[in-house]
């Protein structure tokens, strides 16, 4: 297929035409050929890359499948996602990761790059076959026990060291288990009033501090998943200043929502790590802008209705995120006036692809690059209603109006989403 996106704005502000032939960008400039698509008012960015998502397949297909999750991702402007390993069976061996990758190829909407577990069955005690997963067709480079913390310091040290052999990276879900037994929400004045067991910030910060020191000792790459507190930001800042190879990720919900939402006792707001204070939200936004936090990862966590329509204590942790992530990024980086499109492209696309080592994703918009692209309309508004692409409905922004809208998503030169509608669907 050939087409030209006419009058589109690039991340540096230039308005120009961009042509795509087959799977690649053929030209950036004045030429127009093939189907001419009017992109006036739209901004062209490299297709988004999510380093942290839950596709639930195999094992929890009621909540989401690789196919439905891919659809949600495409609608959100993503051309690549990294599904976490807490499936059933756990993605701790070559067989499962290859299966997940194949399911992604069959769905054909985004590049599905599986994340492998650090430990067998996420049991936290025995290393999984990291090398074999890396050498498999799935070519796994990111390993995480997300959902659980690799809390044993000796095991974390071994894992960090071992993956150096193939330039892998350990992505830690920082949660000291003993400090968070049966925790339900952020520990603070709200949790004391509501009578819900608290989750102290230090449970996250102490693990991050420890892991940064371990990464420094071993000379390894460390990625910190879903950073949620100001104290964690401080730890990461110190680590980077010392030259440690640490990268950090923040979710869209931690950039917007706070613990006060728990006052309704509505479990749609129950998430791990929990929603924190306004002070934390501001620290995370500032860190995303100044580079202390490198990427936005959605931590898209679909759950069936019965796991969310019940008493708080019995509800599952997690919120949807793929279809609303871009709007929140626009709110924090562009509409605030505090950053720019280049930074937005970095955090949503370029840096995640870099951390993962994905070729063809998160690239500069130049002739010859693989055409994984997204076009957004920053002037329009997204009204969040139910009935998105995800099979689940645990949407925390229901009824809200978020800025901006993803208009077209282009995956390897083909439109997966056209005018906001998933290709092939009504």
């Amino acid at each position: 297929m050939s087409f030209t996106l006419k009058n589109v704005q690039l991340e540096d502000g230039r308005i120009t035409n961009v042509s795509v032939d087959g799977q690649h960008i053929s030209q950036v400039g004045s030429d127009q050929h093939g189907e001419i698509i009017d992109a006036t008012g739209l901004v062209l960015l490299p297709g988004f890359v999510d380093l942290h998502t839950h596709l639930r397949q195999p094992g929890f297909e009621k909540s989401e499948t690789v196919s439905s999750g891919s659809a949600a991702a495409a609608v959100g402007g993503y051309t690549a996602v990294h599904p976490m390993a807490n499936t059933m069976p756990v993605a701790d061996n070559a067989g499962v990761v290859e299966q997940i990758q194949r399911l992604g190829e069959e769905a054909g909407l985004v590049e599905v790059q599986p994340i492998g577990a650090v430990t067998v069955g996420l049991n936290g005690s025995m290393l999984a076959e990291l090398g074999t997963m890396n050498a498999s067709k799935a070519n796994v480079t990111i390993f995480s026990d997300d959902g659980k913390c690799v809390s044993d310091p000796q095991l974390m040290r071994r894992a960090l060291t071992y993956v150096k052999a193939f330039n892998g990276v350990i992505a830690q879900h920082a949660q000291e288990p003993r400090l968070t037994e049966n925790s339900q929400m952020n520990e603070g004045s709200v949790s004391a009033e509501l009578g819900l067991a608290g989750w102290p910030a230090v449970a996250e910060e102490s693990i991050i501090a420890r892991d940064i020191m371990l990464a420094e000792l071993t000379g390894s790459r460390l990625h910190v998943c879903h950073v949620s507190t100001a104290g964690s930001v401080e730890q990461i800042r110190l680590g980077k200043a010392r030259g440690v190879q640490v990268t950090a990720e923040v979710t869209p919900h931690h950039l917007l929502l706070t613990e006060d939402l728990a006052r309704s006792y509505d479990p749609v707001f129950k998430v791990n790590p929990p929603l924190r204070t306004q002070n934390d939200v501001e620290a995370l936004r500032a860190a995303l802008i100044d580079g202390t936090i490198d990427v936005i990862g959605t931590d898209h966590a679909p759950h069936p209705i019965e796991s969310k329509e019940c008493e708080w204590n019995n509800a599952a942790f997690g919120m949807l995120g793929l279809e609303t992530a871009y709007s929140i990024a626009q709110l924090v980086l562009i509409d605030s006036g505090l950053s720019n499109w280049s930074r937005l492209a970095q955090v949503l696309s370029i840096k995640p692809a870099d951390i993962s080592g994905l070729t063809g994703q998160g690239q500069q918009i130049v002739a010859g690059a693989m055409a994984n692209l997204v076009l957004v309309d920053p002037a329009s508004v997204t009204k969040v209603t139910g009935g998105g692409q995800s099979l689940s409905e645990n949407q925390p922004y229901l009824g809200m109006e978020l800025p901006g809208q993803v208009v077209h998503t282009i995956f390897r030169g083909s439109f997966t989403v056209r005018d906001g509608i998933l290709n092939g669907r009504a």
């Binding site: 004391a192 009033e193 009578g195 329509e309 019940c310 008493e311 019995n314």
Partner: protein
């Protein structure tokens, strides 16, 4: 403003709280007659939905409901996780389908009563009989009634203004402490929280008039009108909130010595008591102890709550 549910003591204005206490006086007279019956809830169906065991509270509610001529149904729903049994939603919708008018619920999850009241699964009134560690509003009301009647007799229209009340023990995990803290303040009393630092969260301490880790110092500084002792559970000891029962009672128990030093202050306890741990028998059995009256007043207070919840929209007349 009508009281539609009683989920939290923060739902009650001072006027509403005093009205409930005043009506409870009349209800207590009914409880002393030969024929202990009023037609207030005649033809109404009240369901006691208890997810946690509780003989005391459930029996108290049941007697209150029957004295008001309600049709009472007791549902004991053990096993709170969705995987073990029927979900809360299904249980409640079943009750709605049989036209229950009022649901009295005790549940192990904080917020369960509020969640139920706002869910839209059920159109009648919800009374929170204890939700996790969050609130137990009728307990606070019967405690306030007990205090008021001991100190001010049958006087109506009055609150608890200026009284100094100590709440001692495991404040962090106590729904009785939270409910009492709010209600006593609403009624004008000064609340003083006392307990070990591990069980006295700062967020609650700042809502009280004063808070103390040292029981003896508190007794020195403040002339208490009443001392409310909370039950301490041994699970807390196993989770390292305090090292041993003997150390706990040494520092925070109502010992014989402390009992003497609080003079004629009332001694309260929501029950059941751990005699010898948080409270000595000499205090529990003294004339200043209100433990048994609290139980008795529970029925009248709950009858009053049911009476007030039964009415329609509009101000108290």
């Amino acid at each position: 403003m009508k009281l539609q549910h009683l989920v939290s003591t923060t739902d009650l204005t001072r006027e509403q709280a005093i009205a409930i206490l005043d009506t409870a006086i009349e209800m207590s007279k009914v409880n002393q007659r030969e024929i202990k019956k009023l037609p207030v809830l005649r033809g109404k169906t009240v369901v006691n939905l208890f997810y946690e065991d509780s003989t005391r509270t459930r029996v108290s509610f049941e007697v209150a409901e029957k004295r008001l001529s309600a049709d009472v149904v007791n549902v004991s729903a053990k096993g709170s996780s969705v995987s073990k049994g029927e979900s809360l939603k299904d249980t409640v919708q079943t009750l709605a389908a049989i036209s229950a008018d009022i649901v009295v619920m005790r549940h192990g999850s904080s917020g369960a009563a509020q969640y139920l009241a706002e869910s839209g699964w059920f159109e009648g009134a919800v009374i929170n009989a204890g939700d996790g560690t969050h609130e137990h509003p009728t307990q606070a009301l019967l405690d306030a009634y007990t205090l008021r009647s001991r100190i001010f007799g049958d006087k109506t229209g009055t609150g608890l203004d200026g009284l100094n009340i100590a709440i001692v023990g495991d404040i962090a995990h106590s729904r009785v402490a939270r409910s009492n803290l709010h209600l006593l303040k609403t009624l004008g009393a000064k609340v003083h929280l006392i307990g070990p630092p591990t069980l006295l969260p700062k967020a609650l301490a700042v809502q009280a008039t004063t808070s103390h880790f040292n029981f003896d110092e508190a007794i020195e500084e403040i002339k208490f009108d009443a001392v409310m002792m909370l039950r301490i559970q041994s699970e807390r000891m196993n989770a390292a909130f305090f090292p041993s029962e003997s150390e706990y009672s040494k520092f925070w128990g109502l010992t014989k010595s402390r009992f003497t030093r609080i003079g004629d202050a009332l001694v309260m306890h929501p029950g059941p008591m751990n005699r010898g741990l948080e409270i000595e028998s000499i205090a529990a059995d003294s004339p200043n102890s209100t433990v048994l009256e609290q139980v008795k007043n529970g029925v009248s207070t709950r009858m009053s709550v049911l009476y007030h919840l039964n009415a329609a929209e509009g101000d108290l007349s």
